[in-house]
């Protein structure tokens, strides 16, 4: 009886300690470089959209904003390389892949014509929300929620 009690409870205790000692859920640690790079890209994107409020019809075309598209592509590429190099970081990698796809879509959309003020507003709202979500997860890694 005693042996059975020790065996049963020892097993339960081992499982519980294992659960407590090593987490079943694993997510990469906070990355301050990624946080800074995402914040910087967010600022550049905000500046890009704010330029449309003062741009005349000649300055609103895709070709006038080529440096922004090139810089954002380079920034996204650097962010993705770093995110992919970190273990257990698949959620952030997926977020950044989607954000990169959004920049490509934005460029395609711009090549079709200038954005109207309403489009600029809606596009910025969408990008801003995406950046907030990426930063929310990165900061949750730091602060735990």
């Amino acid at each position: 009886m005693n042996c059975l009690w020790i065996a049963k409870n020892g097993l339960v205790l081992s499982i519980l300690l294992a659960l407590g000692g090593c987490s079943l859920v694993s997510i990469s640690p906070y990355d301050s470089s990624a946080d800074k790079a995402i914040t910087k890209l967010h600022k550049q994107t905000a500046e890009f959209f704010s330029e449309f409020t003062k741009a005349d019809e000649l300055g609103c075309g895709y070709s006038h904003h080529l440096p922004f598209y090139q810089n954002s592509k380079v920034s996204m590429s650097s962010l993705l390389v770093r995110a992919r190099a970190m273990a257990d970081n698949h959620i952030t990698v997926s977020q950044l892949e989607l954000l990169s796809s959004s920049y490509a879509g934005l460029a395609q959309l711009h090549q079709l014509g200038c954005f109207t003020p309403a489009q600029v507003n809606e596009l910025w709202t969408s990008f801003d929300a995406s950046f907030s979500a990426v930063l929310k997860l990165e900061l949750a890694k730091k602060y735990g929620r």
């Binding site: 009690w5 407590g20 000692g21 987490s23 859920v25 997510i27 989607l98 489009q119 735990g144």
Partner: protein
């Protein structure tokens, strides 16, 4: 023996409730609201196509951007829930270790 099990179960339950209340473990209402918002945005884009303000190609790209935005938000919710769950498990592990004096 039964008393010890009951005590441990009570401590674990208390820890679970503390962790669950301090973390955003349940976010289903948020997901539903974001999905509803996306449906409204897609409807507005379709209305612009009908009004001739957007071409089909432009509308497709706008929809893709909105869809990407929602997916990024949902991934953030999933990630934050994973972190919250990790904290719950860590908290319960600490309770067990304290209970058995480890």
């Amino acid at each position: 023996m039964s008393k010890i099990k009951d005590d441990l179960a009570s401590l674990l339950l208390a820890e679970l409730l503390v962790q669950a209340s301090s973390n955003s473990v349940f976010n289903h209402h948020r997901v539903a609201a974001d999905t509803q918002h996306l449906a409204e945005e897609l409807g507005a884009i379709n209305a612009l196509v009908i009004a001739g303000e957007l071409s089909e190609e432009q509308a497709g790209l706008h929809k893709q951007l909105r869809l990407n935005g929602l997916k990024i938000k949902l991934l953030a919710i999933e990630g934050v829930e994973d972190i919250a769950l990790e904290r719950v498990l860590d908290g319960m592990g600490r309770v067990i270790r304290r209970f058995y004096g480890n």
